[in-house]
Structures are given as structure tokens and as C-alpha cells.
Symmetry: C2
Subunit: 641 residues, 2 copies
């Protein structure tokens, strides 16, 4: 039974499970928890907790059956797989100094996982590592992962508070549970079937420390009844995160609150008991979590539109080499916010260029370079109308298919006397006169990555000396991120090429570790003597101290463009233009993720390089230690001129 | 003209070059340095030092020829390639804050390398990075390396002393030149055409700091006349290293010593001037270096035998699954030292087991398990003769081909009444009586890696309760090493499999970063109740503080075996049995080399695991940060049962 509906978020159902004690009567456990309790699944121990292989061997010679809860026949196969998550014995300790306990633990773990596979369970909950050192536990789990088909392993990780000022890298007194997870998953090579079940207890770490989990593969949040108030009090982004990232909620513990009846009205329709017996003690908690979920703000329209794109890696467009399809034009033309900004910029430029008294006598020559199917032509003409300025427009477009649409647009709108259509690449067009204003929309997610600089440099020869380019400048930005999902998707290709490629992506399951910083800036027109568009930038990122150690899987990239004067357009998170959907972020991966310990800064280098036929980026990290230079000579990823 | 001959070291010629100033008359430079000076090659600038691309562009419009020293026609192609190493302009600084200088530097570097490639030079000397930050220099060199055919690039690195007590990881006041190199080569991904030209100046770092270079790709040692005394005073292992690792020597600087005539007598035969003109000012230095080389101790016989195997990766034998060839038996049987140790151990065991007064009445039953072609049978019979004890020998061998040889040996020697040959696998043989002494040589480079434990456990059932196993125990050892050559050879396969394999290798171009530590121990006979041969060991290595940071490419592995009582046999460096050549070391690589900063320790885990048909190792690092677990479930490398 899902947590209920929330407007606009039907794509991912929310389920809620309950952690139970060992119970040999599994059918009864299900009736009690699911039919009576209203939960969707149980997280239940699979084996008698007192079982120890070393004792069995000596007593019975190991000939008896293993003491599992029930047999596979007590439930139907679909009941097992839909309603039971296996809870691995919590006494196991594979890193104990006691060799008997260590060997018993390994044997039990393997037997229980084997049993869970036999039952086709969807997931098993692995107990939390007992200390900082968990190499042998990880080694055994990693062996299991090599032979696992579809089952997920959820490693239980208590959400332990870290001290804000722990600067001593060698201090042993405090365990940061994120570091335990980080070590475990590195040992298991980011295996995609290994994820985290975060155990929310009676305290919470700092917001920065908590934020690291936003980029991790968290599949379940175990909310202890003790920790429910923490969950409610957590920063809104944490609640938002749990409810927006396909995270299963599992309630755990004994009831400790008297929950007000009023707060759970929304969920009251499914709180009646089926057979009139005593209700499940955690039922009020379930209803309360459902209430928390349903009272969340509805998803904004833009996010709803982008749901299907979340964390999905796309290759950037090559609009210079390839011609866009009608479908692509269609999508981008719908982004009204963008064209409103362009219109505002053109208005300001026209007013600056032509004083009121010359409005009727002066005709401004405006060229739209890369006119596509005409949205910027329309914005220009609307700006002329708005400001009462006279315009002569040239619409330059290299895609002959878009030129067809342009012609019919001009005819339809009756713009024949104002607009001249030029079917040509702006870099080679021989213009009959020079322009006052050059308008273009050639920007990619990383600003210059679709070669706007090279195109506008080529068009600059038909711009008057004092002419205006809209946009007048643009800057790219990057920030380091934890992004285990994106990293794993890149890694799945098993080659270097995909690690040396930048991807357009709607980043979602990502932790932003530091504010973004500017990388490359281009200004148009470019009157400097140095016409090179090659760039080199060295950046230093400091991670806040209360974050703790963090993992950098790569860099999220953005741009911000100044169209004209104070009119800007962009996706850099702190200044992003609201409700604009033409651009997702760009993601530059790292071949080997960089673990950044508290107090260390991250030094990053980005280059924009060019050859006769292509432009490419190279990137590397040099501190805390040097990475390879990614994409040397554009060997893996480049944009064709 | 090589440095002369040294007994036993004819395999690699030693050459000596000289660093020169810019000289436009290259033929004269060669006559002076090579014909008169006696050097083998010159390291000469290729371009006028005052050249700056940014100045040229403005003055001449860039239409003139580049100001190279001479043209390609002034020397024959083979003269260029045999006698000239290109010295890249030392003024270049690709990491300067001054953008004009930075761009000029990149242009010049590319022009000079392109010229050197045109001339088919074998190597170019790149100037030392100007500071700690060298990412842009590395980026440019890395681009060049992507398109280089055969030319080597030698990066000049001054051998700068590090302070012993520099514990502050953020201290900027001192540059450890090894770290500059490390950063540079990581950025260039350990490219095999990039190597080091170590510049030996007027001071030397500590022996530990110096020792790091033993595992690096050092192709040249530039000895300044200022630094010659340092070279002479350096620890003997440093001199030994320079002269034993295919390192070209380059003399540099102005004469500053009056070298005693007597010391150079050995080289006097080639110090006469051809045309009676003034001699080369560095000629006495050349003669002195030749003298230093020739006065070195001759190579021991064992090292001469092993020359061809240096740093050559071999797959370990699988003697249990495969049968050895006659050639392999032949080689191992020649290792007389090993059989002398066995004979000593058997003597001691016989004397302990049979008192003098029973010598004539008691017959000891001795079984050689894995008898091969009989060397241990011979050692046993010699021990019996030496001690006057009576013996009944069973020679058990699973290889039917070796059994043929055994039969003819027994017949030839007339051992028919003493020796019984059993053609069987020791694990399955049904013995007619029990043995007093079990003798075997089943050890691999890592002790148990050829499955001695499993074989001897299988044979133990026909050993008397108080019987003796020779060997009675064995222990494996590992130590972390810098081994860029081995790392590169593993990496060249471009897959994970080769990084998860252990290799038998005569390690040579390797820096041993810490003393080796014991890993797994096996004792025979094994009377404990736990018969498992699975093992798990966690090790902590501390690198001496005066080493500085260091790179761990993997682990060198060894073994030491106690044959009986105080008679041991092994290859662990601190206790190795002298002049024994049956075993090289074993090398466990790391998929990503671990950079160990000063003050951090290295935590390493090794597992010995087993399944029904195979035994394998897994290994990982967990500190300073976690590596993947290597070879999970034996997916890449295993030994068949």
C-alpha cells in the first residue's frame, strides 16, 4: 500500500516497510504487518538468532537442516519476493579478532544470502559494520556480489553525527559512518547491487555532512521511532531528498510517542483493522509518515517535465556538424522564458542604440545568426514593435531544412519587407552590409561547448565596429559533486572513452560539495589582438569543514550568459533563470573518484583546446593527488568545427 | 665509446654524453665532443635561446624559417639519431602566470619536439618544471606523447634534498622534486615514453629519499661537475643503481676539479687527442666516471645468470594442474644450494629420530612426495649415508613422464632394494605403511602458492602420528614497492585481469619502501582441529619519515621455510639463502597505484581463499584510502587443485 499520492509525482510509488523481530511463523508475520498493519513489506530475520555454525558442527555433525524461518513453501513465490526483505543476522562480525566468531559470521552470511536467493527476495539488509575496519566483511560481500543475479544488498549505515571541528586526520575516537560506507563501496568497486540503508537515529549530523548522502546510492531510510522527531526536524532538503529519490522507508523500533489523531486525518481511510484484532503498534507512525509525504509541496511543472531525464546521461549536441531535427527545434522553441529574456535584451539594445528622436528615421540592421525556425526573428520584431524602432532583419541559417520553415513563417506573418533569409553558414556568408546588432543562441550547457566563440568570431566581420552582440558574454562554471549513479553509468561501459566524455544530464541524485566557480569567459565582439579561443583555468575548491571527508566523482558544469546590459540567462544554480528548461547541466566525470579528506582542498585544471577541425576540453585534478589528464588531444570527446 | 668493460656485465653497454651550450655549427660540436672529447653523444639545444614566438610574429609576420641549430642536412640521419639528444629550451615555463610567456613556451616546445621528430632523434631532454605546479606543462607534454612514435622524453628533475622532519602536509616552503615528478607522470598516466633525467647537483637527499628513485623510470643521470663528489660520496647502492639500471650518464658544467692523473690510468688508452688540438675540458671527468664504473665489483654468477629475467613478468607455475617439462626439472635440479639444505635437514631429522645405538637395527621410512626426477631421493640417501642410518624410501610422483626418469635413475644407481617408486598423486595414494619422515619441495615464490598446504594435508594420513615433515613450516612475506616498469607492463594489457594476477619476477628496477612482513604461515604436520587453509592477514606498513612521499605500485612477495630445526631456506631479502636461484620474488600489482604521503601508514589486507576446485588470493589496501578488492572470488587468477 503506497504512502498515498502527491500531486504530480505519480512516477515513483512510495512504499513503507517495517523491521521485525525473528518470527518462525512467516505467514502470521505478514498478516500482522501487512494486512493489519498496513505496511507494504517486512524486513525480517531469515535465521534463528542463536544459530552459530561452529556449535552446530560439534553437536549434530552438521547433518540437520539449517534453522531458517519457515520453509520456502509457507509463502507463495510472489509473496516472498513482494513482501519480504531478508534481514541478515545482526550478530555477525566478519572483522572480529575472535577467529571462531569471524568464521561463523562468514559461514552464516553466505548461508543466509544463499537462502534469500533461493526465495528470490528483492533485497537483503546487511547489518552495519561493527567498526571502522570492515575489509573482511567487504571482501566476503564482494565475493557474494560477483555471483548475485537480481537481489540488492542494502548495507545498514547509522546516520552518525560527526564533530564539526575534527581536523585531526589520525583521530580515531570518532567514526564518520560515511567513511565506513565509502571504504566499503570502494573495496566493492562501486558495485551497482550494493546500496545504503540509512539508519536514522536520535541525532542528526550537520547539514553539510548529511548532504554528502544526496549523491550516494541510498535505497532505504530506516526511521527509528526514536529518530522520527529528528526526521521531522531535519533540514527541508533532507526530507525532500528522502521523498524524491526512490528511497524505501522502513519503520523500526517500539512506539514511543502519542501521536495526535488530528495530524493523521489524511491517511485515516486506510487505518481500519480487517479482523477487529489489536492494531499494529507502529500503525500510527506509518500514517504519520504518509501524512508527511502527502503534505509536501506539489512538484513544479518544470520538474515534472524533467522527471524522465533525471540522472540520464546524454551526449551533447553537435549542432555545427549535424543539423537539428524538427522535433528538437520544437522542444527548444517552447521555452518561452528564454525568448522573453532575449526580447528584453534586444529592447534595451535598440533603445541604447537609437535615441527617441531618431526612432522614425534610423533603421537598425539586426542579424540573427543561427536563426533556426525563427523564434529569435520573432523576438526581435516584437522588441522593435515594443520600442517603436525600425528594423531590417537578416536571418542566417545553415540548416536547409530549417530554412524551408523560415520561408513559410515569413510568408505567413507577412514579414517579407523586413526579413531577408540567408541560407548559409555564418562563418562563410558574404554579407551585403554590416550589422548593428548580432543576435545568436549558440550556447550549450557549458556555454562555449557548442562552439559559439568560433561561430561568432566568424560572424564578427559583418558586425559594425561599434556593433552589439547579444549575448555579449558568457562564462562557464563547475563544481565538484558526489554522483555515484552517474559514475556507475559511465563505468558500465568499461572503457576510458566514456570517462573522458562530458555528458548533458538532469542531475538529481547528486551532492554538490562546494559552490561553483567560473571557468572560461568569452566576450563578443572580440576586439583584442589575441584571437585565440583556447583557455586554461586552475581552480581551487574548499569543502566546508563540517562536511567531513567526501567523494568527488566528477564536476557538474553550467553557464551564465549576459545577453545585454543587466539581462542575463543561465543555469548556474545560484543565479539560474527560473522555469527555463532548454539546458540541463553538463557532467565531466573522473576516471578514478577522488576522496577528499577533511582540511584538504581540491585543485582542478580545465583546458579548452583546438585543432584545425575540432575543439575539445581536457581536465585533471592535481591536489590532493594528481589524476591522469582526461581526454588528451581530444582523443575521446570533441566538438567538430 | 662505452665506459669500458666490467667483468660479467657485457649485456648492457654504458654510454656517456655531455651537455653543451647552443651551437649553430653542429658538425663542429660533434667533432669536438665525440672525436676529441671521447663522449658518445651530446645533449644540445636545438633552437636559438633568444627565440620567442610572440616577438617573431610581430617583426617578420612569421614567414621566415624557425631558428633551429643547423639544418637536417648538416649531419647524416644516423649521426643525428646516434649522437644527438635534443635539449629543449630551458627558458620555457608553461605554468607561468604571464600568459604571453606561457603561450610562447607551449609554441616553442611543440616546434622543437616536432623538429626533433623530423630528425629522428632518440630522445629529448625536457627542462625541469619551474615549480610545484606543472599541470599545464604536463598537459602539453601529454598531448605530445599521444602522437610520438619512438622518441623518448627525459624530464629533467633536480635531485633535491628533502628535510627529514617535514611533517606538515600543507608546507609549501620545500619542494620535493620526487613529488613534482610523481604529479607529472600521474597526469601523463605513467606514459612509457616519459622518463626521468636525474640532475645530480651539489647536495644529496637522505638514503631513503634517494631510494625512491630505484623504482622509477630513470633513463639518464646528469652529473654536474659540481656534483661529482656527491656522486662519489653517495651510498654504494646509489652508485650501484646508476651503473646497473641502463641509465645513460651525461656530464654537465665547467671543470672545477684537478683530477689526479693516477686515478684515471685504467682509461688512459683512449685519452689521446686525434688532431693534437686542445682537449675537451670535461675529458678528465669522463675518464674518471669510466674508472668508477670499471672498479665496481664484478657481477656475481647468480646475478649474471638472472640478467635476462630482470623485471620480466612470468605467470606462476601450476605444477598441480600441469606437468612440468624436462627442461624445467633440469633447471631446478641445478640449484645445488637448495639440495644441500635439504640434505642437512634430513641428516638432523634422522639423528633426532634414531639414536646411535639403534642405527643398525632401525629402518626409517622416508617418503619423498613430489619426487620429480629424483633430486630429493638422492639427497635423502646421501643423508642416510652421512649419518649411518638405514632408510626405506618411497618416491611418490604424479607426473608419469618424470616417473620414467625415476625408474632409470634407480636402476642406474642400484637403489632397487631401498627405493620404491609410486606413480600416483600423493593426495590419493593408498600407502602400504606409514612414514617417519615426509620430504617435499612444493613451495612457490610465495610459499603456499603452489598449494603445498593442500598436498601435504592430503599426504599427512600416511605420516606416523609423531612423524616429521620436511619442510616443517613456511611463511610468506610481502613488502610495498615502487615499480613503475612492472606497473607499466601490467597496464599495457589494458584489462583488469592482469592487474589481479600475481607474477613471478626477478625484481630489479624496484624501490623497497619498508621491510617485509610475514603474511601466512603453514605448519606440517597439522594436528590442529581447524583444518582450513584459508587465511586472512591485515598488515600495517610504516614508511620512514625521511623518505618523503612515495608511490606504491604493488607488493613484492617472498617466502621463508623451516626445513627442520634450524635449517631454513628462503628468499625473504633479510634472511635469503645465498646463491639459490630456484625462486624469484612474486609481484602483486595494484590497479591504481597508491601515493603514500609522509606520516601516513599503509594498511593492506591479504586473503587466501579456496573453493572446490581452486585456491586464490585476494588483496586490497584500506589506508590511506580503500582500493578495490583485487581478484574477488578468484575471477582473474587462481591455482587449480
Amino acid at each position: 500500500m503506497p504512502l498515498g499520492d502527491r500531486p504530480g509525482d505519480k512516477s515513483e510509488s512510495r512504499y513503507c516497510g517495517v523491521e521485525t523481530e525473528f518470527n518462525d511463523d512467516v505467514p502470521h508475520l505478514l498478516t500482522f504487518s501487512i494486512s493489519h498493519g498496513g505496511f507494504d513489506f517486512v524486513v525480517a530475520p531469515l535465521m534463528v538468532p542463536s544459530y552459530r555454525p561452529s556449535l552446530v558442527c560439534k553437536n549434530s555433525g552438521g547433518s540437520g537442516a539449517l534453522p531458517f524461518a519457515g520453509s520456502d513453501l509457507v509463502l507463495s513465490p510472489s509473496q516472498w519476493s513482494r513482501h519480504v526483505v531478508g534481514k541478515i543476522s545482526s550478530w555477525i562480525n566478519l572483522d572480529s579478532e575472535d577467529e571462531v566468531l569471524r568464521v561463523d559470521s562468514e559461514t552464516t552470511l553466505k548461508q543466509e544470502i544463499s537462502w534469500a536467493s533461493h526465495l528470490s527476495l528483492q533485497a537483503c539488509l546487511l547489518p552495519a559494520p561493527k567498526g571502522k575496519s570492515c575489509a573482511n566483511y567487504a571482501r566476503c560481500v564482494n565475493q557474494i556480489l560477483q555471483n548475485l543475479n537480481n537481489m540488492q544488498l542494502w548495507l545498514r549505515i547509522p546516520l552518525v553525527k560527526t564533530e564539526d571541528d575534527s581536523m585531526d586526520v589520525n583521530s580515531d575516537h570518532l567514526i564518520d559512518s560515511w567513511e565506513v560506507w565509502n571504504s566499503f563501496r570502494l573495496l566493492c568497486e562501486h558495485h551497482s547491487h550494493l546500496s545504503v540503508a540509512l539508519d536514522i537515529q536520535s541525532s542528526l549530523p550537520s547539514a553539510n555532512s548529511l548532504g554528502r548522502w544526496f549523491g550516494e546510492s541510498v535505497r532505504a531510510a530506516i526511521i527509528n521511532t526514536d529518530g522520527l522527531s529528528m526526521f521531522v526536524k531535519a533540514p527541508p532538503e533532507a526530507n525532500y531528498w528522502v521523498f524524491n529519490h526512490s528511497i524505501q522507508i522502513v519503520l523500526s523500533g517500539k512506539p514511543v510517542h502519542i501521536l495526535p489523531k488530528g495530524s493523521v486525518d489524511v491517511a485515516a481511510n486506510h487505518s481500519d483493522d480487517i479482523d477487529g484484532g489489536p492494531g499494529h503498534p507502529l500503525r500510527p507512525y506509518l500514517d504519520y509518515v504518509g501524512y508527511l509525504y502527502q503534505r509536501m509541496d506539489p512538484l513544479p511543472e518544470q520538474e515534472r517535465f524533467e522527471l524522465g531525464y533525471r540522472d540520464f546521461l546524454q551526449s551533447p549536441l553537435q549542432p555545427l556538424m549535424d543539423n537539428l531535427e524538427a522535433q528538437t527545434y520544437e522542444t527548444f522553441e517552447k521555452d518561452s522564458v528564454k525568448y522573453i529574456q532575449y526580447q528584453r535584451a534586444i529592447c534595451k539594445a535598440l533603445l541604447d542604440r537609437v535615441p527617441d528622436k531618431e526612432a522614425l528615421t534610423t533603421t537598425t540592421v539586426l542579424m540573427v545568426v543561427g536563426a533556426g525556425r525563427g523564434p529569435l526573428v520573432r523576438a526581435s520584431l516584437q522588441a522593435a514593435e515594443e520600442t517603436g524602432r525600425k528594423l531590417r532583419v537578416y536571418a542566417v541559417e545553415k540548416n536547409p531544412n530549417a530554412v524551408v520553415t523560415l520561408h513559410s513563417l515569413v510568408k505567413l506573418e507577412g514579414w517579407e519587407n523586413i526579413v531577408t533569409i540567408i541560407s548559409s553558414d555564418m562563418r562563410h556568408w558574404d554579407a551585403p552590409e554590416k550589422a548593428d546588432i548580432l543576435v545568436s543562441e549558440l550556447l550549450g550547457s557549458f556555454g562555449d561547448n557548442e562552439l559559439s566563440p568560433e561561430c561568432l568570431d566568424g560572424a564578427q566581420r559583418f558586425l559594425k565596429q561599434d556593433g552589439i552582440s547579444i549575448p555579449s558574454s558568457y562564462t562557464s562554471f563547475i563544481q565538484p559533486v558526489t554522483a555515484s549513479k552517474l559514475y556507475n553509468d559511465v563505468k558500465s561501459h568499461k572503457d576510458v572513452l566514456h570517462f573522458e566524455t562530458a555528458y548533458v544530464v538532469k542531475i538529481h541524485n547528486v551532492a554538490r560539495l562546494a559552490p561553483s566557480q567560473p571557468v572560461f569567459t568569452f566576450t563578443h565582439p572580440n576586439h583584442s589582438t589575441d584571437k585565440s579561443n583556447d583557455r586554461y583555468k586552475k581552480l581551487q575548491f574548499e569543502i566546508p569543514n563540517d562536511t567531513g571527508s567526501a567523494m568527488v566523482h566528477g564536476f557538474a558544469g553550467y553557464f551564465d550568459a549576459t545577453l545585454y546590459d543587466d539581462v542575463h540567462l543561465g543555469i548556474e544554480p545560484s543565479t539560474a533563470t527560473p522555469n527555463m528548461f532548454s539546458w540541463f547541466a553538463i557532467f565531466f566525470p573522473l576516471r578514478t573518484p577522488v576522496c577528499l579528506h577533511t582540511g584538504y582542498s581540491l585543485e582542478v585544471h580545465f583546458w579548452r583546446c583546438s585543432g584545425p577541425t575540432k575543439v575539445w576540453y581536457e581536465w585533471s585534478v592535481t591536489s590532493p593527488s594528481a589524476s591522469p589528464i582526461h581526454n588528451s588531444s581530444g582523443r575521446s570527446y570533441w566538438v567538430g568545427l
